[in-house]
């Protein structure tokens, strides 16, 4: 179904707002990645958005920029705290 991580979270009613709908223009789908962190690099839009987000850590990613695929095997994700 070509979903990304943000959409999966929303479809399970997790508290992910996804304000911009997945355009990497807000950071409300921020997640922290543990284990198998290097599935793919941040793209430019993701980097630029994380530069201005809150609670950013070195393992931060934007859920909307992570397509669900077998490359995520073994990864664990934690939802970042909501923006103030």
């Amino acid at each position: 179904m070509n979903m990304n991580l943000m959409e999966v979270c929303k479809s399970y009613d997790l508290p992910v707002k996804g304000v911009c709908g997945g355009m990497a223009m807000c950071a409300s789908c921020q997640v922290y990645v543990y284990k198998n962190e290097n599935f793919r690099e941040r793209n430019d839009d993701e980097e630029a958005m994380l530069d201005e987000a809150y609670h950013v850590k070195s393992n931060s990613r934007l859920g909307c920029q992570i397509p669900i695929s077998t490359e995520l095997e073994g990864a664990e994700f934690e939802l970042a705290p909501e923006e103030p």
Binding site: M23, C26, E47, A48, E52, Y54
Partner: protein, 334 residues
């Protein structure tokens, strides 16, 4: 007191289209929006992105769609209160409502339509301990009346279009600008970034990358900002700091109006998109009902049906006959 037939809270695409549908029924509208421009999320978040699911447009840029909606609504001469957030709705004994904004502007109408989208766009604020002490006292999230800052030393934080555009603007108007950003990549337009570097070479601007304002100092008013940079702590003496980190939508006062709220949206009756309060409607992304889709085209439909009920509330003794626009044309207000 501004008087109208319908007060529309939110001047995004759905609010704007409601003006048109109301106008066909000879109802005048006045729109309120917390940001200084119309277009809502389209203008604020993605003006240059193409939208592919507007009926009749295989593709249309979001900003272009807003322009078209303004053109469509123009014959019905809507009023606008922009840059002011709707704070309260009070009901008068005669059944009319008064909507009051953050600046105290009052609007009276028999019908209110809330087309608030995801909520009003509020500035994203940095996390600094004594920040609130300096808000309006040196720290500003929006630039108003830029001329008052001529010749001053200003600190601006941010990497997006707002931060870069204002940094360039002030540097070119006799201000010395310190532009602070957390990395060396900018979300802003490449031309604005190039211009900022150019101004740095002309000693009109200083760029601090991999830097962040961490502390504020001052007694009654802001006197300095303290940055953490790669090279250590830097203190800049200034009375003005503009943290321009963009805006994010918050439901805000809408949650306090006694309406039924579910998952940050207003519950409505799908007969006419009226809320639990007679005379108050909610259309577009701000509402919710079983099967709701947050699509602009759904909001357009909701606006059209809501306007029918609005007409009946305002003209209880008149019969309404739906006339196609191909038959009656568009008769604007004089």
């Amino acid at each position: 007191m501004i008087k109208t037939n319908i007060v529309i809270i939110g001047a995004g695409p759905v609010g704007l289209f409601a003006v048109f549908e109301a106008g066909l029924m000879k109802l005048h509208c006045h729109l309120i929006d917390s940001i200084p421009q119309v277009g809502g999320q389209l203008s604020e978040i993605y003006p240059n992105k193409p939208i592919y699911d507007i009926p009749g447009y295989p593709t249309v840029l979001a900003g272009e769609l807003v322009n078209k909606l303004m053109e469509q609504a123009a014959p019905f001469k809507p009023g606008f209160t922009l840059g002011e957030r709707a704070e309260t709705i009070d009901e008068l004994p005669n059944g009319n409502f008064v909507v009051t904004t953050s600046q105290g502007t009052k609007h009276e109408a028999p019908v209110v339509m809330i087309a608030g989208g995801l909520g009003s766009f509020e500035p994203r604020k940095p996390i600094i301990k004594n920040l609130t002490d300096f808000e309006q006292n040196g720290v500003n999230y929006i630039v108003k009346d830029p001329d008052q800052f001529r010749g001053k030393e200003i600190v601006i934080s941010g990497g997006g279009d707002s931060a870069l555009d204002w940094a360039v603007y002030f540097a070119e108007k006799n201000c010395f600008v310190h532009l602070v950003h957390r990395s060396d990549r900018f979300r802003a337009n490449k031309d604005s970034v190039a211009k900022a570097y150019e101004l740095e070479e002309q000693d009109k601007l200083k760029l601090y990358t991999f830097a962040e304002v961490k502390q504020l100092g001052g007694k009654q008013h802001l006197e300095k900002v303290i940055l953490e940079t790669k090279g250590g702590t830097v203190s800049i003496e200034t009375e003005l700091w503009f943290p321009l980190f963009g805006l994010s939508p918050k439901l805000g006062p809408i949650a306090d109006w006694g309406l039924e709220i579910e998952k940050n949206a207003i519950v409505v009756d799908t007969f006419d998109y009226q809320t639990n309060h007679s005379g108050i409607f909610a259309i577009g992304d701000v509402n919710t009902y079983p099967g709701k889709l947050k699509l602009i085209l759904c909001g357009f439909h909701e606006a059209t049906l809501a306007v029918q009920s609005a007409y009946k509330r305002i003209n209880p003794d008149k019969k309404f006959n739906l006339k196609y626009t191909t038959v009656q044309g568009v008769q604007g207000f004089d």
